[in-house]
């Protein structure tokens, strides 16, 4: 066999498939923003936040982790008036989300969650992700200790379990009345994997200052609750599906609506903290105005170009961006792009930059 033949065999055995790039769905750009949101070595260390965020909202994840709680909405209040009637008059929420809305929508979403809580004072869920996904995560924090609960579709249980067997021998235990296995990564780092129930299985993993004794103690306080209790335990600032229309209306109040803009596009935004939700709303509006500018420019519609440019420039006055600006870079990216487009330059990366 010649070198050439041999090399060809090796080349053919290349496991990398270039088409994966087409399927990343912006995950590469998301990672870039995540990385750039972390401190450099010459900056003061600050806690990193896990990636429980949506798209470019990750740009400010680290900052949001230390930004504290800002109560902007009440999860357990039914929102009777969730119709957005913005500058252009948009379709009602009811027309899009069917017969349920508000609290009922949240309850329905929560039914799909494992709904585990820690029944001990001091433990507070600080990050939630997954209302719109079949898997998700919630992190509970108490001082220097964090307990992250990740859930996955139950058909993945065995493969995860088999994988954890490489971590350590499993030790049988019971968590929230479910049989579970404890895996030990190190003396301060453990995980408990619960047997599947109701279509999902949950893995709890320590983060921070733990011992096996403190882990066992907390496992005994993990309880399964009903959807209502689960929702009430969420931090109030999380924008859940039932809040989307109301919260979106607030943010959209000072944004010019792009032609044909439909607030329903925000309905699948899932659960977000205020920064992430702000990015979802402001990003959507900016994306649509940029698309409108491009369309109008191509069509030679000078008046529409002018209108789109003015709308984009107005982003400097959008309140939500100023509210977000102390926590991350999304507003800066949006303003930079808006100004460029308004000035006649449409950067090729604008969709990735904004998460359009």
């Amino acid at each position: 066999m010649t070198d050439e033949h041999l090399d060809r065999l090796v080349r053919d055995a290349d496991p990398y498939r270039p088409e994966i790039i087409e399927r990343l769905g912006g995950a590469d750009q998301h990672l870039l923003e995540e990385i750039m949101s972390t401190p450099k070595l010459d900056s003061p260390a600050r806690p990193l936040r896990r990636t429980l965020v949506r798209r470019l909202a990750g740009a400010m994840a680290a900052a949001a982790a230390v930004a504290g709680i800002i109560a902007t909405s009440s999860l357990w209040q039914t929102q009777p008036d969730d119709v957005y009637a913005g500058p252009t008059g948009l379709p009602s929420a009811g027309a899009r989300v069917g017969a349920i809305s508000g609290w009922e929508l949240d309850l329905k979403a929560a039914q799909g969650h494992p709904r585990l809580l820690i029944d001990e004072p001091g433990w507070k869920p600080d990050h939630v992700y997954g209302f719109a996904e079949e898997s998700g995560s919630i992190n509970f924090q108490n001082g220097g200790r964090g307990l992250q609960m990740n859930w996955y579709p139950d058909e993945q249980y065995q493969s995860y379990y088999d994988d954890r067997l490489h971590v350590s021998e499993p030790e049988a235990t019971t968590v929230a009345n479910r049989p579970a296995s404890v895996f030990t990564y190190s003396k301060n780092d453990m995980a408990a994997m619960l047997k599947p129930q109701d279509g999902t299985f949950v893995e709890l993993r320590t983060q921070g200052d733990w011992t096996r004794a403190t882990f066992d103690e907390i496992l005994a306080h993990v309880i399964k609750v009903d959807a209502e209790s689960f929702l009430k335990a969420l931090p109030p600032e999380i924008v859940t599906p039932g809040d989307v229309r109301t919260e979106a209306a607030k943010l959209l109040a000072d944004m010019p609506a792009p032609p044909g803009f439909d607030v329903a596009v925000l309905d699948n935004a899932g659960a977000n903290d205020p920064y992430q939700f702000g990015a979802a709303v402001a990003g959507r509006v900016a994306c649509d105005w940029i698309a409108e500018w491009v369309r109008a420019d191509k069509a030679g519609d000078k008046e529409a170009v002018k209108q789109a440019a003015a709308a984009l420039r107005s982003s400097h006055q959008w309140k939500v961006l100023h509210d977000m600006n102390g926590q991350g870079d999304y507003p800066e990216v949006l303003w930079e792009l808006a100004d460029k487009v308004a000035g006649g330059d449409v950067p090729a990366w604008y969709k990735e930059g904004l998460g359009c």
């Binding site: 090399d7 053919d12 055995a13 990398y16 790039i21 010459d42 990193l48 896990r50 996955y152 993993r205």
Partner: protein, 184 residues
């Protein structure tokens, strides 16, 4: 150009190469996300003094190589970035285990039996399409040593593939069905 702007450009220009590099060297496809994330995180933290453009990819490969070594020792960082990328790279659990061509599996199995550095020299040459001097930069040896190792790797692989091609049945050291690895 600010170091932030340059980092964005470096990232955009090298993401796919690094994803490919990592994907080729992990057992679980989604583990590549960790390697890529960690590698670019290192680059970000040093973005003020990255090597010049014409050296950056080789430098990134070198970083990725160390990240991988750490990964294989189970020492990846706990605070992991790239969860979304990880999800995108996670294979469908129902994937048909028979979809891989047996010959490819046999070649990969043979590759896994090479000396680690020899294998890396061979793979950087064939999969990453690097010249010997470039391989030398990545793994930190002389170009002459690269040529020696390349020659040795080919000879050994030729021997192994020759044997394995006649050997029917299950191929060791190759997972036919990728499964998700630990969740962070």
């Amino acid at each position: 150009m600010s170091s932030e702007d340059r980092f964005r450009r470096v990232y955009a220009g090298n993401f796919e190469a690094l994803l490919a590099y990592a994907s080729r060297r992990v057992e679980q496809p989604d583990d590549a996300a960790d390697v890529v994330a960690e590698t670019f995180l290192v680059a970000w933290r040093r973005s003020a003094d990255l090597p010049p453009d014409d050296e950056i990819r080789l430098w990134l490969y070198g970083v990725a190589r160390r990240v991988l070594a750490n990964h294989h020792r189970g020492g990846m960082r706990r605070e992991r970035l790239g969860e979304r990328l990880r999800q995108r790279l996670t294979p469908a659990p129902t994937r048909d285990p028979g979809s891989e061509v047996p010959q490819r599996l046999a070649v990969r199995a043979a590759l896994s039996r090479l000396n680690e550095t020899d294998r890396e020299v061979l793979l950087l040459t064939i999969w990453e399409d690097l010249q010997p001097w470039e391989v030398a930069e990545v793994i930190g040896v002389s170009p002459a040593a690269v040529r020696t190792r390349l020659s040795r790797a080919r000879a050994r692989l030729r021997q192994l593939v020759g044997h394995d091609r006649d050997a029917p049945g299950h191929v060791l050291d190759v997972l036919a069905v990728p499964v998700p690895e630990e969740g962070r």
